[in-house]
Structure formats: structure tokens, C-alpha cells
């Protein structure tokens, strides 16, 4: 298997004499920060290492072979002795593919802390949600997870992970964003390995062919902060994100969220009535602290015996603060909606001077049969779409949803059925009024 080949080696070479003095393989990264964007396959990596430099010119080799690092983005900056250490040249050694050599002029002899940053692809993150409704379908418990997946070709140990929600436009914007409100790379701490599985997958990670334990003893805290159109999640602590593995952390957990439990039917869009949970991303629903990134959601409901029944899995769209969130639970065969065309006639035909029909009305009578064969009561929305200039009969309870959609809202008890009958008149040709 191809494994990492991102390595740094310090070639202490006197350039004037052009003779190698020594080759030193550097110790592991002391700190690394990953800023992962979910709207583009791009991650900003900032890593810190301590180099032992000789006074004068030093050469430092950086290789990106077998990784997805963008070599044009590689940047070298001294963090200590900033005014005494300068990057003066970059060259490309013949003996190594995909490598560059920095020539560093140092006025000091000894340890210098440097930061090396670059963009890489192959590191992505996504959101996962786990929702559990109570027995009555009135309250919801919501667990939100964030998951980072590494296929970049490089292992990252002891990494601080920052996840960006929001659309990016240019690479330059990413760099700017990454530096705005950026936290310093945390100081190194001892790697506390553990091999402990947690039942709710908190701070656990799922990789290809196994389970990988996160570093910290406690589930990490996700620190959330908004930056205008962007939102940053910073996962507290340090984490290992090995190549080909995925790591998942609990973002937040909230219980007792009020939800509306309803069904919706729309011919042409849904072939069968679909069940939805509806809640708003606001304080009244004990949410609203942050936008909810798009991701997968698994929904359960508590049974009478206290166990959980799996209701379905779906993809959730991005939900900004203050917006409604409708969670689609899929079709429910226990709720049936059957629209039937009962009568269709043409009336009020007008003719032009040639005797051809120029305007007429089409009058249709529809009967919608709604059956709730569940034992509990349901609320259902039935959307009907109409083309052109139309008028609906007044003697039926309805509401206008938009320009060409009318919504029939009904509540049915367990085992109840209802028939909705309406007449629609379409005006055609010269009879069209709008």
C-alpha cells in the first residue's frame, strides 16, 4: 500500500563549499492543524516543527510524493527568530521526485520553530445526525456528529481539526479565512492512546476494515464560531486522522425538541404520502446556535416497550439559523391518498369569425380519498397543482400555497378516512383572464 512520503529532512550543507555536512531526519511534527472545507475538496494544513539550524545557509528538503499536496501552496515561515531566519531560495533536487529544497539563511545557530503550511485534497468532512422521536412523535432528541475522512495519502497524528461550513469561491479566500480568527496551533501534549469503544460512537472512528480509537480520554468539545458567511467547528483536543480512515466526533446533543409530525402528498412529486418531522432551527426549538450542515440523518422512534424502531435514513439539506427543517421519513403504506377524476366537461365555448373555437372552459370534478389505517391520529397536507387560469370551488376547505398550488390540510384520527371533493374550472383561449 502506498503510504505517506511527506517527509522533511534537513540537509546541513555549506553551499559555498557545496559539500554535504550531514543529513538529519527531523522528529515528528510537534503540532498540526487541519482546516477542512466541506464545499470543496481542499484542506489547509499548518504544521509546526523545530529545526536545528546552523548559522549561515541551510537546506531543507520537502517531498510531496504519493500525497495530494498542492506544491504551489507550500509555505515556510519561521515562528521564532523571525527576523533572523529567511527563506532565500527554492530548488528542485534531481535525486527525488516531487520534492523541493528550501535554502534558508539563518543568523542564529540552534533551534528555530517553523511553520509549514500547504493545501491538500483528499481530506473531507461531513455531518451525520441521529434523531430519536418519543412514543407520541411530539419530542425529538438530536445528536449531531461531524466526520472527517482522510484519503490524502498522508497520516496526521495529534492534529487539531477545524471544519468549515460555507461555500468558498477562491483559494485566496480560503487562506484568508484560515487566518481570520485563527487559533494558535496548540502546544504539544503527550499522545494518550486508548483502545476503548463507546456505545454511541462518541469520539470513535470508523476506518476501512476496523475501528480506530481517538486520542483523548473525554469526548472532545466542538467549539463553534461564526465568521460572516462561514461557520467554523473546532474540535477540541488533538486527534489522529490516519490515511484511509474516517474519524467521527459528537458535535452537540439536544433533547426535548418540539416537532410537528405530519404527512405530505403531492402527485408527480411523491407517488405515496410521505411522513415528515418538522422543526425550526431556532431557540424555541432548543437549537438556533449554529447552521446545521447538510449530511445524512438516521431517524428512530421509541416504541411502547422502550426500544427504538428505525424509521428511515435520508439526506438533510443545509439548514440556516431561523429556517424550518423538514426531515423526510419516506413513504408510509398505512396512509393512503387516492385522487380520482369524477367528471370532465367543456362549457362556454366561444367561436371566432371563421367559426373555429377560440375560448372555452374545462370543468373537472375530483374526489380525493384519504385513509389513515394507523392507530394514531395524523395531520396530512395534500398539494394539488393547477395549470393556467383556474378557479377552485369555494365550498371546500383549502389554502393557496403558491401561484399554481393549492394545499388541503386535514387531521384524521386512527382508522379514519375522509373524502375531499372539489371542482376546478380552467379558462382557455380568449376566456383567459390572467
Amino acid at each position: 500500500m502506498k503510504r505517506i512520503f511527506l517527509f522533511l529532512s534537513l540537509l546541513l550543507i555549506s553551499l559555498d563549499a557545496d559539500a554535504r555536512i550531514g543529513l538529519v531526519t527531523l522528529p515528528r511534527r510537534e503540532a498540526v492543524q487541519l482546516t477542512i472545507y466541506n464545499s470543496a475538496d481542499l484542506t489547509l494544513v499548518r504544521e509546526r516543527r523545530t529545526l536545528t539550524l546552523a548559522k549561515g545557509k541551510n537546506r531543507l528538503e520537502f517531498s510531496w510524493a504519493n500525497t495530494l499536496i498542492d506544491p504551489t501552496s507550500v509555505q515556510f515561515d519561521a515562528v521564532s527568530n523571525t527576523d533572523k531566519v529567511e527563506l532565500i531560495d527554492i530548488s528542485f533536487p534531481a535525486q527525488a521526485p516531487n520534492a523541493l529544497v528550501w535554502t534558508i539563511e539563518s543568523e542564529v545557530s540552534g533551534e528555530v520553530i517553523v511553520e509549514i503550511s500547504y493545501f491538500t485534497s483528499g481530506l473531507t468532512w461531513s455531518a451525520d445526525y441521529e434523531a430519536t422521536a418519543d412514543k407520541g412523535g411530539k419530542k425529538l432528541s438530536l445528536n449531531s456528529f461531524v466526520k472527517a475522512t482522510n484519503n490524502s495519502g498522508e497520516d496526521y497524528d495529534g492534529a487539531q481539526v477545524r471544519l468549515i461550513v460555507g461555500t468558498i469561491h477562491l483559494v485566496e479566500d480560503i487562506s484568508e479565512l484560515a487566518n481570520r480568527g485563527a487559533r494558535p496551533i496548540p502546544p504539544p501534549v503527550l499522545n494518550r492512546a486508548r483502545a476503548m469503544m463507546m456505545p454511541e460512537a462518541v469520539a470513535s472512528s470508523v476506518g476501512l476494515g476496523g475501528i480506530f480509537s481517538a486520542d483523548s480520554e473525554e469526548p472532545p468539545e466542538i467549539i463553534r464560531e461564526g465568521l460572516s458567511e462561514y461557520f467554523i467547528y473546532t474540535v477540541s483536543g488533538e486527534h489522529s486522522v490516519p490515511n484511509t480512515w474516517a474519524v467521527r466526533w459528537l458535535n452537540f446533543s439536544q433533547s426535548d425538541i418540539d416537532i410537528e409530525n405530519f404527512y405530505r402528498y403531492e402527485e408527480g412529486r411523491y407517488n405515496e404520502p410521505r411522513r415528515f418531522f418538522k422543526l425550526k432551527n431556532d431557540e424555541a426549538h432548543k437549537l438556533g446556535k449554529e447552521p446545521l450542515p447538510d449530511g445524512r440523518i438516521e431517524v428512530f422512534q421509541v416504541r411502547e416497550d422502550g426500544t427504538r424502531a428505525f424509521l428511515g435514513k435520508t439526506i438533510s439539506k443545509y439548514v440556516p439559523v431561523g429556517e424550518w427543517w423538514e426531515i423526510d421519513l419516506g413513504a408510509d403504506p398505512d396512509v393512503i391518498v387516492k385522487p380520482k377524476l369524477m367528471r370532465r366537461e367543456i362549457d362556454d365555448v366561444e367561436f371566432d369569425s371563421d367559426g373555429d373555437p377560440s375560448g372555452w372552459k374545462v370543468i373537472e370534478t375530483w374526489l380525493i380519498e384519504v385513509l389513515n389505517s394507523r392507530t394514531d391520529a395524523i395531520a396530512i397536507e395534500i398539494d394539488r397543482n393547477f395549470d393556467g387560469d383556474f378557479t377552485l370551488s369555494q365550498n371546500v376547505e383549502k389554502e393557496k400555497y403558491d401561484f399554481d398550488t393549492v394545499r388541503f390540510k386535514r387531521s384524521l384520527g386512527g382508522g379514519e378516512s375522509e373524502k375531499i371533493e372539489y371542482t376546478v374550472t380552467y379558462r382557455k383561449g380568449t376566456l383567459i383572464k390572467r
Partner: protein
Amino acid sequence: MKFDYRLPVLIAVLAVASAYYNVTRRAVPPGITQEEHFKRAEELHSKILREDGSIDKNKVREALAEYKLALDASDLRLSAKSHIGAGQMNILEGDTSAAIAEWKNVSVILPGDFESLRAMKSIADAMKENGQKEDAKEWYKKIVSEFGDSKLPQAMEVIVNSTRKEMN
């Protein structure tokens, strides 16, 4: 009785056709894409430095051959990288002029690109190493004229800045 030539002629024609088919078909080696040649070259390239710091010349020659097979790839970036790799192998073989010839192709294939800057810098550095100081200066000037007015990432800007010093 008159000898009937038709059967021997038919057999001869079939034998020739069969031989022609076998020669033409079997002469074509199993298909290896240029990307695979490039990958082989990179694999060899990454192993040419022995643990004692010496260069494995056999691997250099093998890598050079593999890079050459990928030179005219339709993927321009692959082609440019193959020219860069072939040039690096030429340098390790001690043939600077062949290396420079390879690297010159890169700025034609991917003008304005990082790979192009990388190749131009390698040409200038190789000429300087080879004692061709005036020629090297021309290439440093060329780098500055091509990349000097652009807003560049540090990885490219440092090269251009160091090049400005080399011009004088």
C-alpha cells in the same frame, strides 16, 4: 495428368497470411499506458538514492527510459512532469545539455505554470552549476519576465525573488 496448383497456392497464401497476422499482432507488446510508465518512473525515481547516499545508476537509466515513454502523453501535466523527471535523470547521468533540452519543453507545454517555473529554475541552476554563467543569467531574466509581475504563492515567489538576485 496436369498438376493442379490451386491447393498448394491456397495453402501458401493462408500460411503467409497467418504468419503476417502473428507477426503484426504479436509484435505489439501488452498495452501499458503512458500514465503507468510515468508511475513506474516515479517509483524508480524515489528509490535511486541508496541508504549510503550513493546513486543507483541502473535505476536512473530505468527511470529515464520509463519517463521517455510517457513524454508525449496527451495529458499535458503528465507530459510536463515526464520531461522534468527525464531531465533530472539526465543530470544524475551527468548529461546537463540533455537535461536542459528536456526541461525546455515544459515551458512550451505548460506556460505560466508551476511546473514551467520549476523547469526554468532547474535549467538556470544547471547552467550555473555547469559554468555557463551568462546563459544562466538569460534564463533567470526569462523567469522574472514571465513570472515577475504576477501575484504568486510563496513557493513560486521565492524562486522569482532569488532569481532577481541572480540576474545581476
